[in-house]
Subunit: 150 residues, 4 copies
Amino acid sequence: MTDRTRPTRTDYSAWRTATTRWADDDVYGHMNNAAYFEIIDTAVNAHLVEAGVDVRSLPAIGIVAEVSCRYFEEMGFPAPVDVGLAVERLGTSSVVYRIGMFQGQGDQANAEGRFVHVYVDNTVTGGRRPVVPVPPEVRTVVEALATPEQ
Amino acid sequence: MTDRTRPTRTDYSAWRTATTRWADDDVYGHMNNAAYFEIIDTAVNAHLVEAGVDVRSLPAIGIVAEVSCRYFEEMGFPAPVDVGLAVERLGTSSVVYRIGMFQGQGDQANAEGRFVHVYVDNTVTGGRRPVVPVPPEVRTVVEALATPEQ
Amino acid sequence: MTDRTRPTRTDYSAWRTATTRWADDDVYGHMNNAAYFEIIDTAVNAHLVEAGVDVRSLPAIGIVAEVSCRYFEEMGFPAPVDVGLAVERLGTSSVVYRIGMFQGQGDQANAEGRFVHVYVDNTVTGGRRPVVPVPPEVRTVVEALATPEQ
Amino acid sequence: MTDRTRPTRTDYSAWRTATTRWADDDVYGHMNNAAYFEIIDTAVNAHLVEAGVDVRSLPAIGIVAEVSCRYFEEMGFPAPVDVGLAVERLGTSSVVYRIGMFQGQGDQANAEGRFVHVYVDNTVTGGRRPVVPVPPEVRTVVEALATPEQ
């Protein structure tokens, strides 16, 4: 039904920390499944922004075509989360990222997200926007991610 | 990369409405991809609760093993969302749901979520909890969902 | 320390319903205090949008100068919330709203928000934007709210 | 209408960092007013937890009687937020906290929250729970906060 292979820290090439929030935990006392997607989304966009890509004002924007998360071991408030980012595939108009989330010192991911960005023309408003190539500024950043330093 | 087959209203057997929130929309002026998962999660849990299953106090609880969403056409504040629920698979210890989201009168889904619940022993605390069979109360409700009324 | 006078349904002049979400409830099993603000914010903006005010494209936008919520009786998933809206004060550049939230059939509010919008020039970007008069389209809608039908 | 006195960093005695999320920003391109309350709530609860108070399993829990936020200068994704915590008042059954939020190097707060916790008996379920004294473990932590080091 599901790939239960659990990623480890070496599967990712860029890292950041996400702090958790009291509101992330649901009545079961662990982080609600929807809250992980706020961390996943942030990992991708913050990496692009901090690499100098102004994701808000480019004529092409990445919209999410599909996103998923596999949960291996629960996380929760208040410890922070180590977030690893990797590129699975860089296509003409799309980028597929993998985002590993780790809480504590363990080497195995608590969860892994898979995030598919498709670039569309943001100068068209209303209705569905035409798909366009990944902008060169984004492509440069993504290519660097795809090749972890040796 | 992704199944782009777009579901329609007849693919779902139970319905509810979710109101949208100003905070659901992100800087691009459409519902943020993470907000859809709050609607997906709610569709499953509210259906169980309203069918009489006390999901908070059963000795076994459904934890999310995997969840995903495919986005076909953007939605956003302030219109409400029609949310359809269907069962893809009922296993010994797990249930796979599909959740269709529709905004406006169209017959084609704006987005579809796939939500995998695995039941674990909630009387065990700390660490990973053993997988247990789907509780009979839940099974009854899910079986009714899996067979749309003719 | 706090005004504990509990409002009733007759204190509000416009109504809408907000559905609750599984993720709204925190580990204590009731709606997290932050989630109420998503409902408060939505009540104001949805009222304006549905009255024909395009809050996204006006040259002046209402930014929140202050917001608060008093909690009288807990609410939670999955029941919907009746949301009442009233105007406390309409000034030259600001509007103060009161938002009552009711869950169930009771006449007394579960919670009341107080929301202060100040209008600023949205054609200026970066830094602090100059305060401007409440736009005429907004003023008309707010004046209608301030005078409940007799 | 509102106290517009803007606090500075010396007004707070305990500090933490909160990372921001892409989903925190709304269509106006700044952090949505509701998102601040997730940071406010977290500042109080994380401080208690990290000081050794198990806020989830005490027989008395702090419920929010009132919370507010004054906004002085917008914040937004992706920079982190410095969060300062102070105690305004420690009563028999309640604690009033002030939470200052700063983004960037400035000395003046971008926003300040005021958060009122009232302790209630968590061993009673259903309906309104009786107010009880602030638990001794909490009182000790709060008293330490109320007296910044000289």
